[in-house]
């Protein structure tokens, strides 16, 4: 059970699993070439590391309590990424597949809502913009 933040290319690790593992559900978030109809050329992820790690570990703990799983891991990239690069990798393993699907979806939804990592999109027309996700948060 772990959450990691890294400036290096993500190296997914699916090994050392419990022998009762029957299903593994993985989510991979990639840098898309297009967002809101604008052509994206690259992306920068900026993290607030201390809080991001705290929230990431908290999410993994919640998932461990709420779902009958054997393993949960998440790795999030920071730094400058190219189209197609892996920005986030999440894995849950369980005896039965239902719990693995639920846990992996919970983790990615919680990361998007609470883990302070911001995305700056660089467009092919030369502009750049911090991506807003107003639906994702509740403010002051």
């Amino acid at each position: 059970m772990s959450f990691q933040l890294t400036n290096q290319p993500i190296n997914p690790l699916i090994e050392s699993l419990h022998p009762h593992t029957g299903g593994i559900v993985t989510f991979e978030g990639l840098v898309r070439a297009i967002n809101d109809d604008r052509e994206v050329s690259s992306l920068e992820y900026e993290a607030y590391p201390e809080l991001a790690l705290h929230e990431g570990h908290a999410i993994i703990s919640e998932v461990r309590e709420q779902f009958d799983i054997l393993e949960a891991r998440a790795i999030h990239r920071a730094g400058h990424l190219a189209i197609g690069d892996l920005a986030v990798w999440i894995m849950s393993a369980a005896i039965h597949r239902k719990e693995a699907f639920e846990a992996t979806e919970y983790i990615i939804n919680a990361i998007k809502a609470r883990v302070p990592i911001w995305k700056k999109e660089y467009y092919s027309d030369g502009e750049a913009n911090w991506v807003r996700c107003d639906r994702c948060i509740h403010g002051l």
């Binding site: 809080l51 990361i111 302070p116 990592i117 911001w118 700056k120 994702c136 948060i137 002051l140």
Partner: protein
């Protein structure tokens, strides 16, 4: 008066012009500080879109600021 360490990330850093500062303020709560800084830097965010972290943990907006606190206002997150 309270002296605080403030760090700015992402869109808030761009709007502020620097990544961190130490300042002494009369603001009692995080929310009051947010309004003071919005006036000072002309931030383009409404308080409805901002969360606050004090000493690297999310805290309620009405939290009372203490001497030496590290304060971070969190603009909308869109990671993953």
């Amino acid at each position: 008066m309270t002296t605080l360490h403030i760090t700015y990330f992402a869109a808030l850093r761009d709007a502020t012009g620097h990544a961190e500062e130490t300042l002494t303020t009369e603001a009692v709560t995080a929310k009051a500080l947010f309004h003071d800084l919005t006036a000072k830097y002309h931030w383009p965010f409404s308080e409805a879109n901002i969360l606050v972290a004090i000493n690297d943990r999310y805290r309620p907006a009405d939290s009372v600021l203490k001497e030496g606190d590290r304060v971070v206002f969190i603009p909308p997150v869109a990671g993953g």
